[in-house]
């Protein structure tokens, strides 16, 4: 029961080092062309340079801001509309094909329209990110609400809960696992939205850096940008996990924990 799994981080670090070494080995021996796969040492050097000179911060700041806004807005909208439609069957049946159509629409194509509506600044990137995050959260909230135990729901209604209280005390806590599952995917999508948005037209941001680097065959900077973004994505994901743990502390240990 109380046996803890063995410490994992040495293994993770070892794995990271191994991946890095493999990358280095494969590109140094030209088995993978360094033209496309970069040189790991140069990539590291580039990252160090960026942070040492501080030249990365204005770009990183913009990208992180866009990501956070897209993540928060997309999540809030997804949860709100997911709740609403899950609890209003007629509205839901009516909206169903439109939601699905919007979800299937290749949004990247609409980037020019976004820039008409939202300008070339942060807003249009946030809008792109929101459209990615929204649907992921929405579908999970929608399903999560439908999975609420009917007995628990009936119990709360008998105890006198009105609609708002049901939402607060039954639907939301019960859909929490669903929401968080979608948030893990969303963290990534928010970053993708921001970077692709920048990639499609911007004057700042890590996506802009990467676009320029690609245009000049500077694959090492491309990888450096990707690595920096990934590091921050892991940070944001860790925050999500932390919140999840706090909110779900009432749960029985999961299978993985008991096995």
């Amino acid at each position: 029961m109380s046996k803890r799994p063995p410490k994992l981080w040495p293994w993770q670090v070892a794995l990271a080092l191994f991946v890095f070494a493999a990358w280095w080995g494969l590109t140094a021996t030209h088995i993978l062309s360094p033209f496309f796969f970069g040189e790991p040492l140069v990539v590291l050097q580039r990252i160090v340079q960026w942070f040492a000179s501080g030249s990365i911060w204005p770009h990183l700041g913009v990208t992180l801001l866009e990501t956070l806004l897209a993540f928060v807005l997309g999540t809030v909208l997804g949860v709100a509309i997911g709740l609403w439609l899950a609890l209003a069957p007629v509205a839901s049946a009516l909206a169903d094909p439109y939601i699905k159509a919007a979800n299937a629409m290749p949004r990247v194509i609409l980037a020019p329209i976004f820039s008409v509506w939202f300008g070339l600044g942060i807003a249009s990137k946030v809008a792109l990110g929101v459209t990615l995050v929204f649907f992921i959260v929405f579908f999970n909230v929608y399903q999560g609400i439908r999975e609420v135990s009917p007995v628990i729901l009936a119990n709360a209604r008998m105890l006198g809960a009105n609609r708002r209280q049901l939402l607060r005390h039954i639907y939301l806590p019960s859909a929490t696992a669903w929401v968080f599952s979608s948030l893990h995917t969303s963290v990534g999508m928010a970053f993708v939205g921001a970077v692709v948005g920048e990639y499609l037209g911007s004057a700042k941001g890590v996506g802009y850096l990467i676009l320029q680097a690609e245009g000049t065959f500077d694959i090492n900077s491309v990888f450096a940008g990707i690595l920096v973004l990934t590091a921050f994505a892991l940070l944001l994901d860790a925050l999500v996990t932390l919140t999840e743990r706090r909110l779900l502390k009432w749960r029985p240990p999961t299978i993985a924990e008991t096995l």
Binding site: F36, Q212, E214, G215
Partner: protein
């Protein structure tokens, strides 16, 4: 120089591929601080292609575009009126490279028929170049399959992986492919002879354009932008390629400075010496477009005088020797 303060000092200039040599004068103006000298606060927003940059102008999110002159004509055919205010490049600077293993059997442009040719994006100036080449041989515009392969590593990847048989590319892609021995260049509009053979005597490639409405409402702003650009063009004329390379951001070198300098030298001749546009050049461009663009063909007679103006360049040249 400061005749009157610009009506709008915060400006956005959209560009599809800022580090391209095609748009080098814009970067010179920025790096040398010429915009600031004019009292302008310019944000240069980069897009993955010229058509995207144009869309941002029409949508009202950008004030100017640093882009291909072709667009001003193509758009007039769609009742959108935009005008070139200063020319950056006289030559298209586009080259057609044939992949090494196909080059041996490539005798004439007619052999393009049935080939898969990489262009930066469908509809972009590289695509126009390809269609013009085909049209000159009397082939239909889709005789060769145009495949969008982007303007950077993805274009190189497309050639190396054998996904395209040929590529119509701008620098630095062309130089990259050429020096690495991936392609043989069979047509090169960075050279005056090829440029003239395909497009005619006078031509206009990269320009700065904006909407008619903007010019009307913000003449001082336009003048300020043109002033800065003309200064940049004049500076380029008296600088050596190496001096130009020196002032460019290091990121443009893409980790290979020698290659960059080499490519810049090849493109040096294509920059406009004074930024002026001629009607002959406009007619040439129109003639090329009309060989394949159905919208341009259908539009019939276009008012080419409405697609450019030398008014601002001439005013700038008066002050800048």
């Amino acid at each position: 120089l400061h005749a009157a303060p610009p009506e709008k000092s915060k400006l956005t200039i959209a560009v599809g591929g800022k580090p391209l040599f095609y748009y080098l004068p814009l970067s010179v103006a920025e790096r040398q601080g010429y915009f600031k000298d004019e009292g302008l606060d310019v944000t240069i927003t980069d897009f993955p292609g010229g058509s995207k940059a144009l869309q941002s102008l029409i949508g009202g999110s950008a004030d100017f575009v640093s882009g291909a002159y072709e667009h001003t004509i193509a758009l007039q055919a769609k009742n959108q009126f935009i005008r070139s205010v200063v020319v950056q490049g006289r030559y298209a600077g586009i080259a057609l490279g044939i992949r090494k293993d196909k080059a041996a059997n490539f005798r004439s442009m007619k052999d393009l028929q049935g080939m898969k040719v990489g262009v930066s994006a469908p509809g972009s100036s590289t695509h126009i170049f390809l269609k013009a080449l085909l049209a000159r041989e009397g082939l239909p515009p889709d005789a060769a399959a145009a495949i969008g392969v982007g303007t950077g590593s993805s274009a190189v990847a497309a050639v190396r992986s054998g996904n395209v048989d040929a590529v119509a590319s701008l620098d630095p892609v062309t130089t990259q492919l050429e020096t690495a021995g991936d392609v043989t260049v069979v047509y090169d509009t960075r050279k005056e002879s090829d440029q003239r053979a395909l497009y005619g005597d006078d031509y206009a490639a990269a320009v700065i354009y904006t909407t008619e409405a903007f010019i009307e409402q913000n003449p001082q702003t336009v003048q300020a932008v043109v002033n800065a650009m003309v200064r940049a063009l004049r500076w380029i004329q008296q600088a050596t390629p190496d001096q130009i390379a020196d002032i460019m951001p290091k990121e443009y070198y893409g980790g290979n400075e020698a290659l960059y300098r080499q490519a810049l030298a090849k493109n040096y001749a294509s920059f406009s010496p004074d930024g002026r546009m001629t009607l002959a050049a406009a007619q040439n461009v129109h003639k090329v477009l009309a060989t394949f663009d159905p919208a341009v063909q259908q539009a019939g007679k276009l008012d080419l005088e409405r697609t450019f103006t030398n008014r601002f360049v001439d005013a700038a040249l008066k002050k800048i020797p």
